[in-house]
Homo-oligomer: 205 residues x 2
Amino acid sequence: MNIDDIPRPTVKRLSLYLRQLKQLQKDRVKTISSRELARLLDTSDAQVRKDFAYFGAFGKRGVGYHVDELTWNISDIMQLNITRKVIIIGAGALGCALANYKEFKNKGFIISAIFDSDQSKEGLQCGKLRVENIKNMRKYLKSEEISIAIIAVPAGSAQDVADAVVEAGIKHVLSFSPVSINVPGTVQLRSVDLSLELEQLSFGM
Amino acid sequence: MNIDDIPRPTVKRLSLYLRQLKQLQKDRVKTISSRELARLLDTSDAQVRKDFAYFGAFGKRGVGYHVDELTWNISDIMQLNITRKVIIIGAGALGCALANYKEFKNKGFIISAIFDSDQSKEGLQCGKLRVENIKNMRKYLKSEEISIAIIAVPAGSAQDVADAVVEAGIKHVLSFSPVSINVPGTVQLRSVDLSLELEQLSFGM
DNA sequence: GGATGTGAATGCATTCACAGCA
DNA sequence: TGCTGTGAATGCATTCACATCC
């Protein structure tokens, strides 16, 4: 079964299912039906079953899905049983908050360094991390096996920073800058624009 | 023309168009074709034209779209020429960073108060804002005209906080907690799960 | 000529509905 | 009986292709 044969919306929902399933594990729930899972995630039971069916038959007819088994299967599909290192560019308030965001570690993402182009910030502490000069980024990435970068710089420098990390070998970019960025097709880009989220929310989406 | 007659994906793209158009205004670009706008936003020219067409005929054949005019029209459709007040619940690193995020103000969102359930945080400063006890939230909302709340609390208390703000009359909730939350149908909910973003990114989405 | 606006065609995800199994 | 798994039907957004207009 090839990942490309699976609808993208389905793949995106996998992490939502996984999050909910881990919650259910905490609550000592052993088994769950597609209907109940759908209710929790505000979707339809048919949707849930179809999504899981793409990856094989996980459920038991008349019973539902075994929570532990399903959790393990999805984690396996998403290759989430490993840890990955991540760098952050931009040591402003947002960058620092992200650098110390506990949930990242829980999901296997380790923030291994934070860089800033502002010379005067070099040496400052972001929680446990020391702010490094961005000029050292390239060398740092040569010595470490890191493919993910978080960009949390102002709009004006976002594209330049993106170009720089891509040039340094980064393959996945998560941008928090409020501009649209272009990267080569070989690089995965995901953009979270916080004010845009508010805008869309208040418009009713 | 009713908003409900317009495809949701189109409506979601409106803010992306708007963001790009404002960038173009800065760059003194007077006019732009659907093809060029599509290239900048990594979509298709047909998509751009169809999106705009839902709201009427904004373009000039043989020329393209007038940037200023289009910007104004979209802002008008999205009712973004007003400012809105927003409260934040959760004065952790993330909540504080959000409270001082400059881009919000640029888009017309004013963070008017930040609350936390931790008594010991009361009175601390988050940039220019004083952290208030969450017990005062209800009263505060009665005295102010506020319909938007940002939730930046740990997973465990997210649902409780959501219930509380909804009960206090909030109509739009932007949650940064890594759990799925349920709200009444009358309330708009949008969820940004930062680790989930990383997860999906590293999985290739 | 050049780019918009738009019906028609296409592609795809969701929903339906039910056979099949515990 | 209860719930999964799945082909078929539906619904909808995207893409195509071209008539239309500056």
